[in-house]
Point group: C2
Chain length 323, copies 2
């Protein structure tokens, strides 16, 4: 069997390194958060895993490696994991897609019901000791349009459909002829997004950040939305034009937004999202279940076993497309 050396870009005291070392006891693992750590081993390393390193470190260490056969990114989003040398190289890149989907599916469903039942109004009335019955809306019968129908988008659909919601799905490539989906009723290409958005009561953004998706939801898209529409972003902040979103929310041209991702994280103090009451603001922790790091480690270990046996890897990324 080939001698494998795994480089892991991570904080030296990250407890997941122990989990990894225990699960892969027979493998040489070198971990650290500076390029110097890897000076001795990089030339012979076969696997590079970016657990929590910066894009800069990732790029630097990648350049030091001569025998890489596989690169893995813990994150599902690759906007911080792609650089020209990696894109051009023949080494396959995989990502953590799938690990985060159930939690983000639940967050999106929770956000739908939060707005349908107006939980914020309930809390405000409770704090004011104000007994004020009001009409709530139903999720049942409403339409959810999913921008980016990958693993996260499907996790949303699988949870919304049983509520009696209609699911519309936007994806880059139309499904193959005869390909069906158990949840989505109709598919749209990127060029048809205005049509899908204008029909949706809830617009869930779950697209990766690429040159093509950056700013994909902007002024024209907000103008096409129903005044009762709610936007939910569980993908990447910049897929939505932030200024256009702030305007639509401030002017109450849409009902609200539930946001787990932002252009700049942490969201700077004084940002309008903090004071807009029609925003449900989650500080990019909707996927932070108590076991998400364990799951991400275990996913890498399973991938490594597939790699070692020469089996096809999961989540091989199209590096040029960026997802």
């Amino acid at each position: 069997m080939r001698q494998e050396t795994i480089l892991v870009l991570a904080e030296p005291h990250d407890p997941q390194l122990q989990r990894l070392a225990k699960k892969l006891a027979d493998v040489k693992i070198v971990a650290g958060n500076s390029a110097d750590t890897f000076a001795q081993q990089a030339a012979n390393a076969t696997v590079l895993c970016n657990w929590s390193g910066s894009l800069e470190l990732f790029r630097k260490v990648f350049a030091m490696c001569l025998k890489l056969r596989w690169v893995h990114s813990r994150s599902a989003g690759l906007d911080q994991a792609l650089f020209p040398e990696l894109i051009l190289s023949a080494v396959p890149l995989t990502n953590g897609s799938g690990v985060f989907s159930p939690s983000l599916g639940e967050f999106a469903l929770g956000a739908i019901l939060y707005f349908a039942k107006d939980f914020r109004r309930l809390i405000q009335n409770q704090m004011a000791q104000n007994w004020e019955p009001f009409d709530v809306t139903m999720a049942e019968g409403k339409t959810v349009g999913i921008v980016g129908y990958g693993d996260i988008g499907k996790a949303v659909a699988a949870r919304a459909r049983p509520l009696g919601m209609q699911v519309l799905a936007l994806k880059r490539n139309a499904p193959e002829r005869g390909e069906t989906d158990p949840h989505a009723e109709q598919f749209f290409g990127p060029a048809q997004r205005i049509e899908m958005i204008s029909r949706s009561d809830y617009i869930v953004v779950a697209a990766p950040l690429t040159a093509e998706t950056r700013g994909m939801i902007g002024e024209a898209e907000f103008a096409a939305m129903k005044p009762t529409a709610v936007v939910i972003n569980v993908g990447r902040g910049p897929v939505i034009g932030e200024k256009a979103l702030v305007r639509a929310l401030s002017e109450r041209r849409i009902k609200g937004a539930a946001l787990d991702v932002f252009d700049h994280e942490p969201l700077p103090a004084g940002h309008p999202f903090y004071s807009l009451e029609n925003v449900l603001l989650s500080p990019h922790c909707a996927d932070h279940t108590p076991d998400w790091l364990d799951n991400a480690t275990d996913f890498f270990v399973e991938q490594f076993e597939r790699y070692r046996k020469g089996e096809a890897l999961w989540n091989v990324v199209d590096k040029k497309l960026g997802y």
Copy 2:
């Protein structure tokens, strides 16, 4: 065809009376909120519908009727619709069960996700301009125990199961041998409620208020709950011992409660539920969708058509059991 006269206990200007008159144009309908209104017609009335009358008025008008063949209550809960003469009479009583179930199913699911994702903490941090990522929990894999597995309970189960939750169900009568349920994994009788409650992460109370269910969830039941348990009441307030609930919440022996029903409504000013931050307080409007009154009227009209054709009525109540 027999000449039918329907008495409707309702406010004289209730707009639903117009909807009813339009849908049943060929039927004599007498409506009002005082017994005098019905003095002329009661003796010959065949149908009595309690739309929004008090228990006192209901009882008084019932006593004036000599030829009743059917009594209907708009509400699903009958604790305000039962009195000895009605219980003892041979006239069938039906209720509005079913009309409210989808909205209450959605509220319960929303409440589960509200606590799993800690929406209140998100709102508090947002208001304080505090970016503080924290761990959220998953609904997936958790257990929901449903106390009262009727139409509302089933509506909760049908929405929780697709999230990957385990559903336990408590009902008065065990299911018939061979009877299966698409959502509930295990059934419990009232005597086994401690066992079911101790296994549940979410306890949804959807039981009618009867002599048997009053105070059914009290000190012993709260003592059996997990410290992370959340109680959700979409049935009737007094099924839960209110003092025991306030104590469990104040002492943080359970995680929280989502309450749509109370011992006294409106909830009196200064009540502890207003100030407990682990309570999601809904002023008995979780079923107030914009069309709930239309739906309740249409249900009565459909029932009336069945009645007139001599077909079996839906929702015939066991008046002695009280549901």
